[in-house]
Symmetry: C2
Subunit: 680 residues, 2 copies
């Protein structure tokens, strides 16, 4: 290719990238893309519109989003976001996961233990205050520490009013904002469908479209024992969205890497993602073999297998995106441009050097940090940590053991979730064996855990002889403090204690030699970007409230166009065309009440809105500020949104407001709930 041709090709790529970025953005509510909305869609939201949407949006601390859909504190999120509560409320006689749940009156609504829901009430730019805390001439580590302690001070000061207060790092360190949240801690379950219809199609249909899932769960926020008054709520749209209609998504995307440098993305592409995929493939093979031994083994392995299958699809989608030469080439070109215009390439070089250090230690860090370790070992390590950390002053502890975070830790350590010896042993043996194979016999981690013994022997002995399977024993250790834990000969605790110093070393290495360097460099890159482009881009996702937008739009797949909607007809087609075979079987209610349904009612739909994990449960909203759907997934191509926006094929998937109402009335006879939604 001649130079001219190459230049032309690059221009075409850049243009394509610009055009494809059309509806990009997970925007903070203080900086929405007003100009573009006005120019392209003729949409000019008032302050009241933005405020209402923001205050009607809720964050589930378990890791999802939701919205108020009535003035009486009624909230809607996904079944898979509210799953933990639905499962916790189930017991031998009432399996709400399998059979669903409906509180026909408010007194039947059931409190979810440990649930917390947040509403973002205020945002304040505190960048200048945090920068002022850093003494001139500080090195990266000192700068990070100074900022951290000023952050903690600001948060604590703010939290005195009973609010949740978080310092949010935006633009990889370009800005810091103090976010104030109203907290709801009395959250009650109102309605859940059967898991089988929430997750119809199971792992095969996960991350795909056409789709036919009723992935919803209703909760209600209470205050002082009464339903919370939620003046800001999203009225239910009876008309739903139409093809090509502009829609908004308000929710809490968890994490994206769009402003990461190419060095960081190559680290993901060449280390983090492939290594995770290898692990998942190995572990799923093991779990499949175990599950194949019998029904009970299948049941024991089910939850972990589902988790891993989901992760596997997600990583495959991400790897494909990272290997897309055209899209990644466009990103590399953009980086080169900014680097040139910034006049100082040192931040990019600093990141590349730090990333290289990270890459070089990538393999051992997985094991030392208990990444996807078996449950008993995780419990042991939490006990070791808890007892060691809680004797320190609050501000000197690892953040996940600060006072505010302790309830979550004890909740986890004292969980009554059953543990099975054979299953724990299987997983521990394989985890240790994998580490041995990956790191070699002389690696400190391998020496510390195996000490020359075979992984299977270590696992067998540790699982057989540990007392940690007993919740009371775990409780006793937490209460016994460091002396009890340090002197214990419980083999699982011995294993966790052996790993702990390695973990602390790795953690220090990462925090000081990688993260602090990268953070400081990104601050500089962000400043350079403001200078060159102005503040015309959105920050990467941080599991804080964002507003995305796009249009309801079909996409090309398998040689044809996928329709933007599915209907109940599609649900019954997929069921019947598989002969009702799992995971395309239907709950009995759907068979019994089929004749009552208007089968042409839209069930799921896709849009080009810019979303990522964490957006699960986000409301899809029309111009009028009405609820037209609820995000519950993206297609496999949408995983590219972690790294770059594309509206060619990437799509966000919602349950349709019309389908939800039709199911509530005709399948579940949930008249009271449906009336609460449909009243205007």
């Amino acid at each position: 290719m001649s130079t001219l041709h190459r230049t032309l090709a690059l221009c075409l790529v850049s243009l394509a990238a610009v055009a494809a970025r059309a509806d990009e953005g997970m925007w903070t509510f203080d900086n929405p893309p007003r100009e573009r909305w006005k120019q392209v869609y003729g949409f000019e939201p008032t302050k009241a519109w933005l405020d209402k949407v923001r205050l009607a949006s809720v964050r589930f601390m378990d890791g999802g989003s939701g919205s108020f859909v009535s003035p009486d504190g009624l909230m809607l999120t996904n079944h898979h976001v509210g799953f933990q509560c639905i499962q916790n409320l189930s017991n031998e006689t009432s399996d709400y996961v399998a059979n669903g749940f409906y509180a026909a009156s408010r007194d039947k609504e059931m409190p979810c233990p440990g649930y917390e829901v947040n509403v973002l009430t205020a945002m304040e730019d505190v960048t200048a205050r945090l920068q002022a805390a850093v003494k001139p001439g500080s090195d990266d580590k000192a700068a990070r520490d100074a900022r951290t302690s000023e952050s903690t001070r600001l948060q604590n000061e703010c939290a005195k009013g009973g609010l949740r207060c978080d310092i949010v790092t935006l633009y990889q360190g370009g800005e810091y904002h103090l976010y104030r949240y109203k907290k709801y801690t009395d959250v009650r379950l109102v309605f859940a469908p059967e898991e089988q219809i929430a997750f119809f199609g199971g792992d095969p249909d996960n991350f795909t479209f056409p789709r036919h899932d009723v992935d919803i769960a209703f909760f209600r926020a209470y205050e002082n024992g009464k339903p919370a008054q939620s003046a800001a709520y999203l009225p239910w749209s009876l008309a739903g969205a139409k093809q090509d209609e502009l829609v908004f998504v308000s929710g809490n995307p968890g994490s994206t890497s769009r402003l990461r440098t190419m060095a960081e993305l190559h680290g993901l592409r060449d280390y983090a993602v492939p290594v995770s995929l290898r692990f998942l493939e190995r572990r799923l093979k093991l779990l499949n073999a175990y599950a194949g031994r019998g029904a009970e083994q299948g049941r024991r392995a089910r939850s972990l297998m589902r988790n891993y299958e989901n992760a596997q699809k997600a990583y495959v989608g991400r790897l494909k995106a990272l290997q897309d030469q055209q899209a990644m080439g466009a990103k590399a070109d953009a980086e080169q441009q900014l680097r040139g215009k910034a006049g100082d390439a040192s931040p990019w070089d600093a990141i590349a050097a730090a990333q290289k250090k990270s890459n070089d230690r990538f393999l051992d860090v997985r094991y030392v940090t208990f990444n996807r370790a078996p449950q008993l070992l995780v419990l042991a390590s939490q006990i070791v940590r808890y007892t060691a950390e809680t004797r320190k002053p609050n501000e000197q502890r690892l953040p996940e053991y600060a006072d505010a975070a302790l309830p979550a830790v004890t909740n986890s350590v004292l969980s009554k979730a059953p543990l099975y010896d054979d299953f724990e042993e299987l997983l521990l043996a394989d985890w240790l064996a994998e580490a041995q194979e990956a790191l070699g016999p002389n690696h400190p981690f391998v020496k510390a855990t195996l000490g020359g013994r075979a992984p299977a022997d270590v696992a067998k002995q540790a699982v057989a002889n540990t007392k940690l399977k007993d919740v009371a024993a775990r409780k006793g250790l937490l209460e016994g403090g460091p002396a009890a834990v340090q002197s214990s000969v419980d083999p699982m605790l011995v294993l966790a204690r052996a790993i702990d110093p390695l973990n602390r070393e790795v953690r220090r290495f990462y925090e000081d030699e990688v993260d602090a360097v990268i953070l400081r460099a990104h601050e500089k890159i962000a400043q350079a970007r403001w200078k060159v482009f102005g503040k015309t881009i959105h920050p990467d996702a941080t599991f804080t409230l964002r507003l995305s937008y796009g249009t309801v739009k079909s996409f090309p797949a398998e040689g044809t166009q996928v329709a933007p909607f599915t209907t109940f007809h599609g649900l019954y087609d997929r069921w019947a065309s598989w002969g009702g075979k799992e995971p395309w079987n239907l709950p009995k209610r759907y068979l019994d009440n089929k004749a009552a349904l208007n089968l042409e009612t839209p069930l799921n739909f896709v849009s080009t809105a810019d979303i990522i994990g964490g957006n699960s449960g986000s409301p899809t909203i029309n111009r009028a500020g009405e609820f037209v759907g609820i995000i519950f997934d993206g297609n496999i191509e949408s995983l590219a949104l972690d790294f770059y926006y594309s509206e060619e094929v990437a799509r966000a998937v919602s349950v349709d407001s019309r389908g939800i109402l039709e199911a509530l009335r005709k399948v579940y006879g949930a008249t009271g709930l449906a009336d609460e939604l449909a009243r205007r």
Copy 2:
């Protein structure tokens, strides 16, 4: 990659290729894969089973397949196979294409002008007789001529009994068989659905699955004015096929290239297919712009656009298959093996040399041979040829102007199909301009057609001043003979006359320097293959009767598994989810009668049977010899079957016997027809 690794990789590829060839084969009825059927499926057909299936299979000379489905001569084929008759029988008041047709009693069944249907009654190996006709030491051309005249002699001798007799070249010249057919020439239309449901989803859904088409048309064969007695017919299965069930497809696959050498396939990959795709892209752009000018222009362009869109998808699928490195690598390895074992590489070298000659002239041949030329120019060339050829003795003519073939030519020349000046001019100007751009101003074709003028001027003048738009004028010229045609100053005839000598030269070049050489070489390769492998492979498709088989089977697509069946629910889902937008609109009958349908009835299904174009209309048959479906398409991946078999993703698509019966009874009220099918 080290040598060892490369070798290992090759082995894996070869093994994969072997495994994937599992259910390969378009078998002649005299050599079915009995051993494999027995071993893998426990199926051992009797002679009676094979005879019944063969005699129940019909070939539509228009280019499709079909079957007898009642003892009273009732035949089923695809709507798109029977389209010409349905269109010919339509008129201003009765548009059977748009509205469908049903003869509620036999006296309402309408004869299809010019239709001929064949039943294969006997096959005879005449290889030795044809080889004996070739004098030892003959060159390729002389050998070809000797065989051709012996073929003609055998065919004529056989045809004296009123049969259709064809010499069929199998294994690219490895064998010659004399096929005897019973002919039915009184073929009447019994039932046709609306084109919209036969081709539901239009071009977007073409070559895809899931699919929801009722692509069927019923005809009846008559003899002596009475329904033919078809003792061999396929009883209708009311139970249909099940997932993973063994099924057979009996039909007339048109053409495949599996036994072609790599040199020939590379010619397709690098010349024929990409050049065709470039042409189609250019022409579709032109047609889209023309159709965009108004409704009438859209109507005029519609049929050609559909034809080109279909061809475009087909070529894209083929190109992808030819570019598949793993599959093509396996083919190359297999060729190397055979070449090594044959002990004589000269046939492969001869083919490569002939193919190179063909490649070198590929571009100009397209134009000189009127490939996809506009209709008026084609008519002109047929008139020029007809008058020149018919004055020669029958055996010296170009075969397409032999006495037996003349009715087809006059039928075409005297067709009353409307011609539109603006449309013809548009296409002629573009065809000439494209030739000028591709061949350059000094090419003999460009000089002969343009003579220095602009393509647009030549087209404008030729279309404006030709008399050939008038059927009577065309008739007059056919009757006027060569003198009238050679002396005519009609500009379209002048254009056709200018191209004619170039065409004859190219034709001679191809026949003598390419085809004759390749045919002779393939004879030798076939002999070598018999020696090495025995007669364990099937011959390439030749639009003669073959038996394929496979299982009803889902396939992976877009991250999930496509169900093996679709149902009426799926049809209504696709309609409703597009909001009834064309091409997903439904005929009124389907809206009016929806409530009467059992929507869970299977409508279409896929199998791994080995098919290709020409199989359209083939019955899908179960072990019991019952009709369970009718082939009407393959998915886009099935186009690879032109070059190699694969059951990973390639699938044949059938209409389900249950769906047909449900539609006949509930949508069309075609009770008499449904009863004729369902009686046993």
